[in-house]
Symmetry: C2
Subunit: 334 residues, 2 copies
């Protein structure tokens, strides 16, 4: 079904207030969830509301906790998220990073002891809409085998790069696995195969059939050994820069997905390097360049990172935000 932005946001806000959030905090969290759905990232928008409420009920997220500053040096700050709502902690860290970038040209904020930030791209877009560049990531619990192994010992750590664009921010938000579990499920339910192999079956055969991969939990890192190494770097660098923990410890905390995770927010003011008019020209030229390629056979077009969310927004503005009937039903009854 389709629901307007305002209806979705106010309904989610109502749910969060019901479970104890202040009006102000519920407003922000509801806005971020709704924006994610509005950008086409339903999995981390409307579809995560019930799970977040479950986390509150179990005491995995402390809705009243505020981030507290633990370390500070020049353009670096480290916060303890105190297991507060991941969205609010991450926005606080991004705001601090922007302040540091304003003062020093670049700033780095480490955030430990936080909870699921939902869609990483939210914070990249937040910074880019305000004129800044963001390089950011979170570590997670182990949910992917390292290359050469068969047990899940690696986080599927999303990595975000965002910058102001010509009309809208350019933004990359990618996890380290080739496919999300959600994609495996949707593909299996549709009785289809993945466009490219997505993991191994339990006997170690690489396969494009989603079912056997869901069963073995042996999802493929993007680019095989490359995504595996990148995921490891993000995990350990995240822990070190946030003075927090890596997947090994997140696994034992027992407070749900990303409960106790470490996050990094590097924010840069591009105007300290490139004049604003020049920046737009540079971006425009780079976009024109990749789009000048002849299309490949069966191409679905050449898009730059972030072009898809703009398209989703346009569709949703015209028709309302797409939401699964059962998901919306659940939100109404939470």
């Amino acid at each position: 079904m389709r629901v307007s932005f305002d209806v979705m946001k106010s309904q989610i806000k109502k749910v969060f207030i019901k479970y104890g959030m202040s009006d102000e905090k519920a407003e922000v969290c509801a806005r971020i969830h709704t924006e994610s759905s509005n950008d086409g990232i339903y999995s981390h928008g409307s579809n995560r509301v019930a799970r977040f409420v479950g986390y509150i009920k179990k005491g995995w997220v402390d809705i009243n906790a505020e981030p507290s500053l633990e370390k500070e040096f020049g353009a670096v700050k480290v916060f303890n998220g105190n297991m507060g709502p991941g969205i609010l902690n991450a926005l606080h860290a991004t705001d601090c990073g922007i302040e540091l970038a304003e003062k020093y040209g670049i700033g780095m904020v480490g955030l430990k002891n936080t909870t699921h930030w939902m869609r990483g791209g939210s914070y990249g877009l937040y910074a880019a809409e305000r004129g800044y560049i963001a390089i950011s990531w979170t570590n997670t619990e182990s949910c992917m085998p390292p290359w050469g192994g068969k047990d899940c010992k690696l986080g599927n750590n999303p990595f975000v790069m965002a910058m102001p664009g010509v009309a809208n921010p350019i933004m990359l938000d990618m996890a380290m696995s080739q496919y999300a579990y959600g994609k495996l499920q949707v593909t299996r339910l549709a009785g289809k195969r993945l466009p490219f192999p997505g993991g191994f079956d339990k006997n170690g055969n690489i396969t494009d059939e989603p079912g056997p991969i869901e069963e073995s939990m042996r999802i493929l890192p993007m680019g095989y050994w490359k995504g595996s190494s990148f995921a490891f770097m993000l995990d350990v660098l995240g822990a070190v820069l946030a003075d927090g923990v890596s997947a090994a410890d997140i696994d034992t905390i027992g407070k749900g997905s990303c409960g106790g995770a470490s996050q990094v927010f590097i924010i840069i003011d591009p105007k300290k390097a490139t004049a604003e008019a020049e920046l737009k020209k540079t971006i425009d030229k780079a976009i024109t360049h990749i789009k000048s390629s002849a299309l490949s056979e069966n191409s679905m077009g050449i898009i730059f990172p972030g072009e898809d969310y703009v398209k989703a927004r346009k569709n949703h503005a015209e028709n309302g935000i797409l939401v699964d009937d059962s998901i919306w039903e659940e939100i109404l009854t939470l």
Copy 2:
């Protein structure tokens, strides 16, 4: 054949001096080339000496140029590389980044108008050996099709993340394609297939046969659309943060691979976030964690990023550095 570190370095230095470099600069460039070979990255060590000399002869690299500071604000500096030797420019940028990180906890150096930095990992290791974290990348000329396209309109931009480790630095140095052209060539000459598909033939069929990919130049980005988007971000972010140019312009400069490229060096002092003893414990735990996975079928082991260069160093220290007979012959006669 095998050549000792000192013999290789002094021979390469002799060559560089012959082509006009000062003793001091030739020493540094020869050391970096030799270290790359010593770390097992022959393609960017001994195997690049002749090509670099070719660039000097053609006037593509100005061996006497020095980087000049163009912009400065807080913890951000932007240099013009003035088409000087890529190795010297990149080391200068890394040194400046370290100074900034020492003062502000984090620093960002943009470097435009530079030339091929050879192995990106050199600068990551340089920073990590001195106790710093490095996040760094370069853009390049177009040499890979964007996802959905068939023409080379995207750089194969290497991305580097390095940090101090328990014994040796941990370091990720990865280009955006699934395989390097060198790997395609070696595999073809050995009459073998790639372990996984590496690109498309000229008719758009995905293939693990190296020959048809070399012919079509349609190499695969790692993780398909993911590596394509990541490569684009690095290209345009590199241009913006260095006040320089993207692949679209590098293609037209006509001064060889990476001639006129833009590079970014983000350097962070981890001690501002995590105490040194804690850092080693965090890394050790993360390494133990991934290695605790059962091995997959036909596994070649689970390694962390950077484990391979330590292994290569050990072998080379015992037996001399491996170098192709014809490559060494060529260096001797340059």
